[in-house]
């Protein structure tokens, strides 16, 4: 199409948009909310899924974990040092776990005690309910929030434990008391933090006598998408033990992610249909208003395709403007929620907005606009000229 033709097709398309500014503004607003509907809900559900799985990853599985095939991993320090040097590694934690009887104020429960070598890990600190997390070199404990309750939650019997109090721990070969420095975990207990007691690695090493050993070495990466690749790298380095990624370790995490993906797909399809219908109705009303005019344009020599071009361009302008506004609204809400996440029983939720999501939905919205503009324009262009001219 030559520039001057494009100019006139553009002028015809723009003229209607300009002529009825209020209607055009409503249409653009409606389309921008259609876009918000297309992007925001999947982004929010992504955020929900992320909070769920991140709770499991940070509290339980890590992105990749190495477990002993039998007994405990030996020479754990060397393994941690070796892994720490690899690319994309954020934290490497060696963990010793042991089952204890925990008693407080005459109440007792069976619970897992976890000795962690990374008390500085932000995944723990960010999930504190009250108090503080462990300090290195101190012999204190952090208790899961279910211990605070007066009733059983999950596999843990609540013992009404309070921060600052002493908790008695009775293990297989030890018996000791530790002051509770903080309470950890979410209301929903995602990731198991609410159902265990944390001690420093050195503390539990001494208590159990498992010197330089670990039940698990947990690796937190800079990017969770690198998990499978990192596992492969560890295998290439002949790392001893069973290496598993987070989704291999936790069926729940995998199931949650799979379920949310289905929900997102359903929401996306519904969103696209709503957007398509919204744009289609707008363009249909617009074409209905201009049937006679298009008849005149054809009567004075324009071909059918020009009529189609005018309406498709109009739909494109509406779609693109709605898209820009929709992007701005979405990004504003996303930025707000990132700065102020919503507190929920499973943790803090904000939207997870990936460039892929924005690009695919933007492209989808534009395509929907073009289709929605094309169909009524095509139908109109097929109508006999006389019929359109006599439409008053």
């Amino acid at each position: 199409m030559k520039l001057n033709k494009a100019k006139f097709v553009g002028k015809l398309a723009l003229r209607d948009i300009r002529e009825d500014k209020k209607i055009s503004a409503i249409v653009v607003l409606m389309l921008s909310f259609s876009f918000l509907n297309l992007v925001f809900f999947p982004a929010f559900i992504n955020g929900l899924s992320f909070t769920f799985t991140e709770g499991i990853i940070e509290g339980q599985t890590g992105h990749v974990a190495i477990e002993a095939e039998e007994g405990r991993l030996q020479n754990a320090d060397a393994l941690v040092q070796k892994i720490s040097k690899l690319q994309n590694v954020q934290e490497v934690e060696k963990i010793i776990e042991t089952q204890v009887k925990a008693s407080y104020d005459g109440e007792t429960t069976n619970i897992v005690v976890k000795g962690t070598s990374t008390p500085q890990f932000k995944g723990y600190r960010s999930r504190l309910t009250s108090g503080e997390f462990l300090k290195e070199e101190t012999n204190e404990a952090v208790a899961g929030r279910f211990l605070r309750e007066d009733r059983a939650l999950g596999s843990v019997e609540g013992i009404g434990l309070e921060e600052g109090k002493n908790l008695k721990l009775q293990g297989e070969n030890f018996s000791t008391e530790r002051k509770i420095r903080g309470i950890i975990g979410t209301q929903g207990g995602i990731g198991g933090l609410s159902q265990q007691i944390f001690l420093n690695y050195k503390d539990i090493e001494e208590l159990t006598g498992a010197e330089n050993q670990a039940d698990t070495v947990k690796v937190i990466l800079e990017d969770r998408d690198q998990s499978a690749k990192f596992k492969k790298r560890l295998q290439e380095l002949n790392t001893k033990g069973e290496i598993k990624t987070w989704d291999e370790q936790s069926n729940l995490a995998e199931a949650i992610e799979g379920t949310f993906t289905i929900v997102i797909n359903i929401l996306s399809v519904v969103g696209f249909i709503v957007a398509l219908a919204a744009i289609g109705v707008v363009i249909f009303i617009n074409t209905s208003k201009r049937v006679r005019e298009m008849g005149i344009i054809r009567a004075i020599g324009a071909r059918r395709k020009r009529v189609i071009q005018i309406f498709v361009l109009e739909a494109f302008i509406f779609g693109a403007t709605g898209l820009i506004l929709g992007n701005l609204i979405t990004l504003s809400i996303h930025n707000y929620l990132t700065a102020n996440p919503i507190s929920s029983p499973i943790g803090m939720i904000s939207t997870q907005l990936s460039p892929e999501l924005m690009i695919t939905r933007s492209a989808g919205m534009l395509i929907a606009s073009l289709i929605a503009g094309f169909i009524p324009a095509y139908v109109l262009s097929k109508t006999e000229i006389v019929e359109t001219i006599e439409n008053r």
Binding site: K7, G301, R303, I385
Partner: protein
Amino acid sequence: MKIIETENLTKTYQMGEIPVEALKEVNLEVEEGAFVSIMGPSGSGKSTLMHLLGLLDNPTSGEVYIKEEKTSELGEKEKAKFRLEKIGFVFQFYSLLKGFESLEQVILPQILEGTTEKKAKKKAQKALEKVGLGDRKDHSPSELSGGQRQRVAVARALAGNPDILIADESTSQLDTESSEEIMQLYRDLSEQGQTVITVNHEKELGQKADRTIWLEDGEIKDRNNQL
């Protein structure tokens, strides 16, 4: 030379289940440069005939020849080209596009079909001058009187130098003075060699043409050569 010829031109509309014959085997010949007025009562088939001659509609049977070319054999693209290059159409109602100035109205059909803007503007300016609106090229339809708007429509029809100018009751929305001005414009164009076919409701206006054709119930009842 015959510029238009129809052969048993028939148009039947379907009104529900009842077929209504708007035109019945009309045979008509128009010479190049003629000024013809088609007259008749409401529902006599005048507009239907105009639409068929202007290639805006397809006959049920029969044929329209324009410059000896059989138009029923033309496809959509060729018909559009024909309407653009060979036929100028002026409508009964105001047919200008909102939001476009007079010059833009006139150049629009040419631009849409590929004439360069410079060329189209030159032709449009000439056409506007021809209808006496050379000084109104920057006016939008709302700034023009009814008669002036119809003149712009005539200029638009003329800008592509068509072989035939068809005006379907183009004065029916105008007051007497403006109607007479428009008919005089057709007269002047005819004297410059332009073939003009008009439909007129009022006898006095129709009689300004060289030749009147009286249509009734879809049939030609009277052919009168005045000049």
